[in-house]
Point group: C2
Chain length 143, copies 2
DNA sequence: TATCTTTCTGAAAATTATTTTCATTTTCTT
DNA sequence: AAGAAAATGAAAATAATTTTCAGAAAGATA
């Protein structure tokens, strides 16, 4: 698990401490591929660890974002979500507007065209987000 | 002005009323090409019309979104912004992470590739958002 | 036009998500 | 083991958005 090491390096580099809560939160965060809001992860953790605090979960997710392990995303439902970022891999999202299903995808051609657009406007891209909203396979057939 | 008619049709179809505030807010909203948050538009309106209320501005922007005149967007600064939607025209954004400049662009090839991705996953796209974040020309040269 | 019903408005309060505060506990150096 | 620095969890604070409500305005009806 490289991400655990990455996080620990980040902590020590910043003079921050490695605590049992941070280990636990990272472990649980990495375990699942879902896109957690602070609240969702907090509720999940609380089942096994009732003493954990909401603020700690939130602060830790922010740390993940800061060190690049996670990215903050907003899919328009009013909650910020954190998703696991895999090194040098970027992916975008298909979001079902009916059931909330989130599918990740990657498309190299789209990425290249984005760079082209940016250079036409003399922008230097740091990152991007692409989300396609619509009905997933299941929700389409139900209607 | 077709959008004014569109909004009025929407109102009467829904049994809603045409008020001086709604007319004023729509007019001001369409006048500018910027991406207003509720607060920004409220502050702008208040200069000329000190009696207008924040809630009214917000509710009206929501109506614009509901009838398709405006789209809600979130560029990650914690405020929802509303932008004017031009019929059958879709555009994406370059957002400067330093000065907040927002540039709109359109790229037909990217749109086509998006459709392709969606069909590969059996999704039916309703809409999408693509935002490229980075440094604009001016901010690049300043650094 | 006068009246009536419904919707709107603006101010304030409520709600929701996120962030901060602070007393106490834990980590990690010496 | 002791001290310094940072982390935790609960509660309070903040910020954006939404709702409430009493009075005002719109627009249908007579």
């Amino acid at each position: 698990m490289d991400r655990v090491k990455l996080f620990n390096d980040f902590l020590s580099q910043k003079g921050l401490k490695s605590t049992s809560q941070r280990k636990l939160i990272l472990e649980t965060f990495l375990e699942s591929e879902s896109h957690y809001s602070t609240e969702e992860l907090y509720l999940k953790l609380r089942k096994e660890h009732p003493r954990i605090g909401y603020a700690t979960v939130h602060r830790t997710l922010k740390l993940f974002a800061e060190c690049g392990i996670a990215a903050e995303r907003n899919f328009g439902d009013g909650q910020t979500r954190f998703e696991s970022v895999h090194a040098d891999e970027h992916h975008d999202h298909l979001v079902c507007t009916n059931c909330g299903l989130i599918i990740e995808f990657e498309d190299q051609k789209i990425e290249e065209l984005q760079k082209l657009v940016a250079s036409q406007h003399n922008f230097k891209i740091e990152n991007h987000r692409l989300e396609l909203y619509g009905l997933c396979e299941d929700c389409r057939s139900q209607k």
